[in-house]
Every structure is written in structure tokens, then in C-alpha cells.
């Protein structure tokens, strides 16, 4: 069992940095309407990220020896910082980085291993050798931006980006820094991931959010897109998934506890249930969250009657959906609850309120 943690220190989202085949940057993201339900394309399992031009975004040098996921993460971080209007001279000791990823190193590792088999250790390029370490994407964001407060990488097939957002909130609340860039970055997935995520996957994506303590945001007159009020992460074992009453007891008490962190006077709660189309296990947990939503008169599902399944950007999917809703929100009176469910049993809940 788990209980949600309600945040004492106010933490606000002050910027978003999306990099995906749908949209690069907040303006493009706000213009994309209902992209976050996957429509499986039968003839392709991997969709290219054509719109991304590393040289245009990152300049002439410094990125060529880096894997694509690191490049996407660096651009997403720059975009989030610009969107939040972070001062370019901001002391790097005040900013931390938390990134979820699965596929930042897969391509490199695969290539290295084949080269070692074919021609021995000489097959590996020394300059690229550090890229076998999956934290290369988060580390390069810090190197690029000079963000030194902390730098954390999490892995989970689907929930890592949301875990990263929550871990960043915990670190801010713990006083480790007043600002964090958090989210996910993914490189090219191995083909077998289609079996647990979605029939069609994207070649890459990233989405970072700029999180800030309310004090820090207020001091620099930032314009928050929303305030994080509570969160939780837990693991739903198979035995619980198979027993709908136990599953409801677990998820409903968790969600009830989480929305208790919301301030009074809101007109309702939008619930975004994010889960991969290829996972029956995740679908069962999603059904419990949807039942919770249906039982509340003030709650509505984001993305249609079943909430829409999406996983093409792996662990970046949920942060992209969150960013897209924050970028588009017009009514300042409804809360947003994101329930992110992975194929192995991971469950992450984030509760946001509009800011006054």
C-alpha cells in the first residue's frame, strides 16, 4: 500500500520543452489538437523524427559524437528554459536535472557489441565510448546548460518520465535546489518494445518541464502554467491486478488521498489516464482509474470516453501529454490529475492545480 505525498513547499511548472514528431516547442505543441492517442499504422513500426534538425537547434559543434536521445534532451532543456524565461545567467548550482529514459544508449550498445564481436576492442570509438552509459542524456543537459544541483536518470519502460517529474518535486521540496528541469528523453527503441508499448513507436522524443518553487518563481515574476500539489508512485502486483475489488481499493484510496491536496473552490478535476495500448495489465489498472473518475460528479476524463491509449514516445509520452494540456489550458478553474501506468505494474500519480 502507499499513500500520496502532499507537497508543503509550493512547486509550479513554469515552462515546457517538447521535442516530438508532432511538435517542437510550446507554440507548436499548443497548436496540435488531439494527437496523443496512438493510431497504429500497420505498415510501419518506427516513425521518423523528421522535423528535428540538430545543427539548427544546437549549433555547429559539440553534439556530433552524442547519441540522438542526448541531442533531443539538450534541445528540450533549452526550449523549457526559454519557455520559462529562465535567466541565461542563472546560477547553475540552483538547477537540477532529472530524466527518465529507456533507449538513450540502446543503439550505441548494440553497435559497440557488434563491433567488438567483428573486430575486437578497436571497433569501439573512444569518443563515443561514454555513450554506453544510459545517463548520457541527462548528463549532457547539465554539461550544455551548466546545471549542477543534481543530475538523476531513471529507467522504466513507460513511467520513467513521470517518475522523473515526481523525483524532481521531491528534491525541490527537500531544499536541494529551487529549480529543476525534469521529464524524459528517448532514442530509437529496439523493435521488441512494440510488444509491450505500442505497435508503432517513434524514433525519438523528449519533453522536459521547468519546475520551480513558488518563491523562486514569484521572485522573478514567472508565469506558472500550473502548481504541483501531490504525487505518488507505487507498484501494483499481478495478484492485485487480477482482483478488481482489491485494485479499486488500492487505486481509489490513492487517488482520493491525492486530490485532498487540491485547494477549495475549483470547478472540477480533469483526469488523464495514460497507458500503453499493448499492455493488458496496464489496461486493467487504467480501468480502475477510469471507474474512480466516473464515480465523481466533478471529474472528467481527458482524451475521450476511454481516455485514449498512447505510448509511441515510451517514457516521454506522459510528460508530452502533460505539457500539451498545460500549454493549452484555458479554464483556470479545473485541476489536472495524471495517472500514468506502465506495463510491468508501475503507477505514478501527479496532481496539479491551476495557479491563481
Amino acid at each position: 500500500m502507499s499513500t500520496p505525498r502532499l507537497l508543503d513547499a509550493g512547486i509550479v511548472v513554469t515552462g515546457v520543452g517538447p521535442v516530438s514528431r508532432h511538435a517542437i516547442g510550446r507554440a507548436e505543441l499548443a497548436g496540435v489538437a488531439t494527437e496523443w492517442s496512438d493510431s497504429p499504422a500497420r505498415d510501419e513500426w518506427l516513425r521518423p523524427l523528421d522535423a528535428f534538425d540538430a545543427a539548427r537547434r544546437l549549433g555547429r559543434k559539440g553534439w556530433r559524437a552524442l547519441p540522438p536521445a542526448a541531442r533531443y534532451a539538450m534541445v528540450a532543456a533549452r526550449l523549457a528554459g526559454e519557455d520559462a524565461r529562465l535567466d541565461a545567467d542563472l546560477d547553475g548550482n540552483l538547477v537540477g536535472v532529472v530524466l527518465g529514459t529507456n533507449f538513450a544508449a540502446d543503439e550505441t550498445v548494440d553497435r559497440f557489441d557488434r563491433a567488438v564481436l567483428a573486430e575486437g576492442v578497436r571497433g569501439i570509438s573512444p569518443l563515443e565510448a561514454p555513450n554506453f552509459s544510459i545517463n548520457v542524456a541527462a548528463s549532457q543537459v547539465s554539461v550544455d546548460r551548466g546545471y549542477r544541483a543534481f543530475n538523476i536518470t531513471l529507467i522504466d519502460l513507460f513511467t520513467a518520465g513521470s517518475s522523473a517529474l515526481w523525483t524532481a518535486c521531491q528534491a525541490l521540496e527537500d531544499g536541494r535546489a529551487p529549480v529543476a528541469l525534469a521529464g524524459a528523453a528517448e532514442g530509437r527503441p529496439p523493435r521488441q518494445s512494440t510488444e509491450v508499448l505500442a505497435p508503432t513507436l517513434d524514433e525519438g522524443a523528449a519533453c522536459l518541464l521547468c519546475l520551480e518553487t513558488t518563491d523562486h518563481a514569484a521572485a522573478r515574476a514567472a508565469r506558472p502554467l500550473g502548481q504541483v500539489r501531490a504525487g505518488a508512485q507505487l507498484f501494483v502486483p499481478a495478484a492485485v491486478v487480477e482482483a478488481p475489488d482489491r485494485l479499486d481499493a488500492l487505486t481509489h484510496s490513492l487517488l482520493d488521498g491525492a486530490v485532498r491536496a487540491l485547494p477549495a473552490g475549483l470547478s472540477g478535476v480533469d483526469v488523464d489516464v495514460v497507458r500503453p495500448p499493448a499492455s493488458a495489465r496496464a489496461e486493467a489498472v487504467a480501468a480502475a482509474a477510469i471507474r474512480w473518475t466516473a464515480a465523481r460528479t466533478d471529474a472528467a476524463l481527458v482524451g475521450g470516453p476511454d481516455g485514449g491509449r498512447a505510448a509511441a514516445q515510451a517514457s516521454a509520452t506522459a510528460p508530452l501529454r502533460l505539457a500539451s494540456q498545460l500549454a493549452r489550458r484555458t479554464t483556470a478553474s479545473r485541476a489536472l490529475v495524471q495517472v500514468v501506468i506502465g506495463p510491468e505494474g508501475h503507477l505514478v500519480v501527479l496532481v496539479l492545480s491551476p495557479t491563481a
Binding site: 576492442v121 507498484f235 502486483p237
Partner: protein, 402 residues
């Protein structure tokens, strides 16, 4: 109100011993876990030694997981977690009903599974790939393996901040317990010796040939190692209530990032991380009785680490030793083994040694590496260093329960 957090169970699955007693004895006697590589065919590799755990028999150690469905690294993590829970004396059934979770660190995840898939691919084609292997690939299965083995419903977080990942995991678990989000946590890390990581470190010029000799003038690099390290954590109050044996208290942890270079450590940044760790733990540098070093044995790491230590502690720093001299570099598990060694040192009053140390380095004056065998000492406060690729520094501070 933050709760105090203590370590009440240890689960080392290492090249020098499996379980608390074997591991403690090996640390005290300064045993080496280095042997010729058997995990992969190292013929033709310039360097062929590593710290493998040939004695690891997951079938014997695990109660719920079927070893055929999991990769070696997940099995290391789950077996270490099972050991830590046994060592803590807690009732496993009560544990699985409680608010309990895991945070597990790694560098390379299921590296051997990936390697086997590549070999199958190269030898055949996509359709020849073993589906069981494919399912075992995701590195995020490490924490999942721990939760499944122990039936835990709290979070199952896999951290992959490379070679300091266990310290991030330990810090995260500590914070989760301190704030009341969970009541029990398993923290640690796991990695397996594999072909591509071995080759990668060789290519970086970081791999030595036979012997890892941290802090020695003639040190020439790391040896890769493997294993699983797990610690069982709970609030002090809960440990006292159930009359548990307490190894040590987690006093706090410090994190930062060099933000300068993927592989070149930055002593100024490392010194800052030490100060942060002290501040967060509420201690002064002068209170630290022993530093469990990152101590990889590369010329650069040990020089930079020493420089940072001298800057923070002055010309007479406390003893600083590297258990990597015995285990090799166990990557994501390394600072987990460091934490276990530190907790054992506190509980049993000894400083783990640096083996293979012969000649002091004139560039590193004032360093006492505790050469050869363990030294008896009462340790009130211990600093456990973890640094990583990408300049990801994480330092945990453990102490006697006062």
C-alpha cells in the same frame, strides 16, 4: 517532522563473499575477488581479468522469482534484496503487507542478456531471437525483480546514474522513509560483467591488466566487477520497536553534477558535493572518521578524489580506502557495496582496507589508504563516495546511532 532512518539488513552478493558474514570476513582480511573472465569469451581481448561472482546460484537464494525468466543483473538485485530482508529479521509476510518499496541503481542493466541477443542476431536473424531473452532485456526490471521477489507494493524505482547509482538509490530510499512516504525500503544496486562494458572501459584507457591498486603511485586503472548490493532501511522508531539489530543510521546525502565533462572528474565540484553531503547530514568534516572512497584506481579518479578530500578535510584527512581493490569496479552496485562496507565498519568497529597498495603517491600527500588488512577503529561517522560518468556525484553519510 522528518523521521530518522537506519540500516537493519545487509545483502551483499559479491566476488569476495555472499551474505553479511562472508563479506565482512573478506573485508577484514583484505581478500581479492579478481579472477580470469568467464562471463564471455575474452580470448583476443588485451585484458582478461575481472571481479566475477561464479558462486552466485540464484535458484538457491530466491523464493519467488523463476531464474529462467530474469537476466543476471535482476537476479543479483533480487537475491541481494532477499538476503538483506533475511538479515533484518523482519517477517516477510508483514513486509509485503506494509508500505514498502525498492530503489535500485545500475550502470548497464541486463548487459549479458543484451549481449546474448546480439550474438544470436549476428549468428542468425531476427526470428531466431529467444523470446524469453527479449522479455528479460529492459533494465527497469531490476527494481521490478526486487518487488516481485518480496511481494512489495511500494515504488519500484530503477536509477541509472551509472557508477554512483547505488548512492542515489540509497539517498532516495532514505528521503522516502524520512518524509513518511514509505515505512520500509530496499536500496542498492546491481550490474554484471559483460563484453561491451569491458571493451568500452578498455577503449577509454581506463582498464588495467591484472591488479587494481587504488591510491598507489603506480595505479593504472580499473578492473570491471559485478554483483548485487542491497540494504534494508526503516525508521529508527520501527527498528527499536521490533528490537532489530541496527548497523548504522543514514544521516543524509549530497548530490551534484560536474556539468563539465562526461569522463573527466572535476575536483572542485566533488569537494562541493562533499560539503553538501555534510550539510545535509548535519555534520562537520572534522566529525568524519573514515571515507569509503570511490577509488577506482585510475590515475585521474584517485588524484581528483584526493585533491577534493584535501580541500575539504585539510592536510590530515581521515583514513580513506577503496574496496574496489578487492571487488573491482562493480559499476551500479559499487557505492552500494561501499555503503554495506561502511555500515559493517560502524557496527563492527573496523576500517576496510585498500589491498594491492605498495607505494605512496608523492602527488597525494597525507593519504592513509589503510593498506592490506582492516584496521580496528570506532567509526562514529563515515562518508561513502560515489562518482560517475557524466560527473554525477552522490555521497552518502552513515553514522553510529547516537
Amino acid at each position: 517532522m522528518r523521521r530518522r532512518v537506519v540500516i537493519t539488513g545487509l545483502g551483499p552478493v559479491s566476488s569476495v563473499g555472499i551474505g553479511t558474514e562472508e563479506f565482512a570476513t573478506a573485508l577484514q582480511q583484505g581478500e581479492s575477488g579478481i579472477s580470469p573472465i568467464s562471463s564471455f569469451d575474452a580470448t583476443g581481448f588485451p585484458h582478461r581479468m575481472a571481479g566475477e561472482v561464479p558462486a552466485f546460484d540464484p535458484k538457491q537464494m530466491l523464493e519467488h522469482l523463476d531464474p529462467r525468466e530474469w537476466g543476471r543483473t535482476s537476479l543479483f538485485a533480487a537475491a541481494a534484496a532477499r538476503l538483506a530482508v533475511q538479515d533484518s529479521g523482519i517477517d516477510p509476510a508483514a513486509l509485503s503487507r506494509a508500505r514498502a518499496g525498492s530503489s535500485i541503481g545500475t550502470t548497464s542493466g541486463e548487459s549479458q542478456v543484451i549481449e546474448e541477443l546480439t550474438a544470436q542476431w549476428v549468428a542468425g536473424s531476427l526470428k531466431d531471437l529467444d523470446p524469453a531473452l527479449i522479455r528479460a532485456t529492459p533494465a527497469s526490471r531490476l527494481a521490478v525483480a526486487v518487488n516481485r521477489e518480496l511481494g512489495l507494493t511500494g515504488e519500484a524505482l530503477t536509477l541509472s546514474t551509472a557508477c554512483s547509482a547505488s548512492n542515489y538509490a540509497l539517498g532516495h530510499a532514505y528521503a522516502t522513509l524520512a518524509t513518511g512516504e514509505a515505512d520500509y525500503m530496499i536500496a542498492g544496486g546491481a550490474d554484471s560483467v559483460c563484453r561491451w562494458a569491458h571493451a568500452g572501459f578498455y577503449r577509454l584507457g581506463a582498464l588495467t591488466e591484472f591488479v587494481c591498486s587504488p591510491f598507489d603511485r603506480d595505479r593504472s586503472g580499473i578492473l570491471t566487477g559485478e554483483g548485487g548490493a542491497a540494504l534494508f532501511l526503516e525508521p529508527l522508531e520501527s527498528a527499536e520497536r521490533r528490537g532489530a539489530r541496527i548497523y548504522a543510521e543514514v544521516l543524509g546525502y549530497g548530490l551534484n553534477c560536474d556539468a563539465s565533462h562526461m569522463v573527466a572528474p572535476d575536483p572542485v565540484s566533488i569537494a562541493e558535493c562533499m560539503r553538501r553531503a555534510h550539510r545535509k547530514a548535519g555534520i562537520d568534516a572534522a566529525q568524519v572518521d573514515y571515507i569509503c572512497a570511490h577509488g577506482t584506481g585510475t590515475p585521474a579518479n584517485d588524484a581528483m578524489e584526493t585533491q577534493a578530500v584535501l580541500e575539504v578535510f585539510g592536510p590530515k584527512p581521515p583514513p580513506i580506502s577503496s574496496i574496489k581493490s578487492m571487488l573491482g569496479h562493480t559499476m551500479g552496485a559499487a557505492s552500494g557495496f561501499g555503503a554495506i562496507a561502511s555500515a559493517l565498519g560502524i557496527a563492527r568497529q573496523f576500517i576496510p582496507p585498500t589491498i594491492n597498495f605498495r607505494t605512496p603517491d608523492p602527488q597525494m600527500p597525507g593519504i592513509d589508504p589503510v593498506a592490506g588488512v582492516a584496521r580496528p577503529a570506532r567509526l562514529r561517522v563515515v562518508q561513502n563516495n560515489g562518482f560517475a560518468f557524466g560527473g554525477n556525484n552522490a555521497i552518502t553519510i552513515l553514522g553510529e546511532v547516537a
